[in-house]
Amino acid sequence: MSDHPLITFMIVFAPLSLLAIGGASSIYAPLQHQAVDIYQWVGGREYLELFAIARVTPGPGSMLATLIGWRVAGLPGALVATLSLYIPCSVLCFGVAHTWNRYRGTVWHSAIENGLRPIAAGLMASGGVALLRIEDTGPFAWGMAIAATALLMWRPLLHPMILMGAGAAIFVAVRAFTG
């Protein structure tokens, strides 16, 4: 393993980019295997710590790759890891989006568009459930999520920062009271 770490990042992260089927959550297991077991860039506990950091900071949780790059090779490592993870899937997505938008207006295009719509709705609701599962905060969190949903149905343009600020304040207050 005399290879330069930056080149190794490209070799490891670029294929993961195209393997992330159904979202980034599907690459955490292979990423952990590569980073902890095979290349030993970070230890198991450190990996979990970086995972938690990537989750609580803004942006995609998959910026975990950025943190691994940073731990191993500083700023260049962070840059190369980030680009290797996001560029391949973005190029593919661009190609598909370009083709997709070129045929807008044809009958089959609207058929596909309408056909995909209920699937998108089901996936969005599933995404919400998956988030609640990760947080693992019980019926109270569910109640809060449903309250936020109701609030948005009443005021769709309510600014997300207000919603998130209120959510954070209520949770902090409840934790403080219940210990």
Binding site: T57, G59, M124, L163, A168
Partner: protein, 204 residues
């Protein structure tokens, strides 16, 4: 019915003036920096469809399905899709780099200060509270996207099947979509064609 006619007649949303790359960058940079706790898709929808009207609901939701089916990170795929729709290749590059550049700095800063963050009282509770707000945004968007389906039996069935298999049973997403998408598309194909042919016949 009237809605379907409208979307069929109106060409893809033409912009009075092209969206400037700077406003595209500002939007994605801001959302990237503020998107705690996931739910970026809901935020994109708010800004791009509701506030700025750069695309319609139909365009947004079909892009969302593409972003889900294609490999890669859903939020960055969505940024690429929106950027492409608004300004082509350069739009995709700008949206993607804007989305990632803020969090790139924040995530490294947070990793350097992680131990201090954990000692702030209430930090973890606040993060959990933010996450429930993000979930609420996703649920709301799901309901909005589902609106048309409630009046149409087969679409509603597809919606429920997707949610039960992916959301509740946690089946792998790709096979589920590969089965349900062709069925759902076929149904909407049949449904769309019927009234059009009837119209044509009436004219002739």
């Amino acid at each position: 019915m009237s809605i379907e006619k409208e979307t069929a007649i109106t060409p893809r949303s033409e912009f009075a003036q092209p969206v400037s790359l700077w406003s595209l960058y500002k939007l994605f940079f801001g959302v990237g920096l503020m998107s705690f706790g996931g739910g970026l898709t809901a935020w994109f929808h708010r800004e791009v469809v509701l506030v700025r009207r750069w695309m319609t609901d139909d365009e947004f939701f079909s892009g969302y399905s593409l972003a889900q089916v294609l490999p890669g990170v859903n939020s960055t795929n969505m940024a690429v899709y929106i950027g492409q729709h608004v300004r082509g290749a350069i739009g995709s590059v700008v949206a993607l780099s804007a989305l990632l550049s803020g969090p790139f700095v924040v995530v490294i800063a947070a990793a350097s200060a992680y131990r201090y963050l954990l000692e702030i009282p209430g930090f973890q509770a606040a993060m959990a509270g933010i996450a429930t707000a993000a979930v609420g945004m996703l649920f709301h968007l799901a309901i909005r996207s589902a609106r048309g389906s409630f009046r149409h039996g087969p679409s509603l069935l597809v919606l429920v099947a997707t949610f039960v298999s992916v959301g509740l049973l946690q089946w792998p997403l790709l096979p589920v979509i590969l089965v349900l998408a062709p069925l759902s598309i076929a149904v909407s194909w049949v449904r769309k064609d019927a009234p059009k042919d009837a119209q044509k016949d009436a004219h002739e």
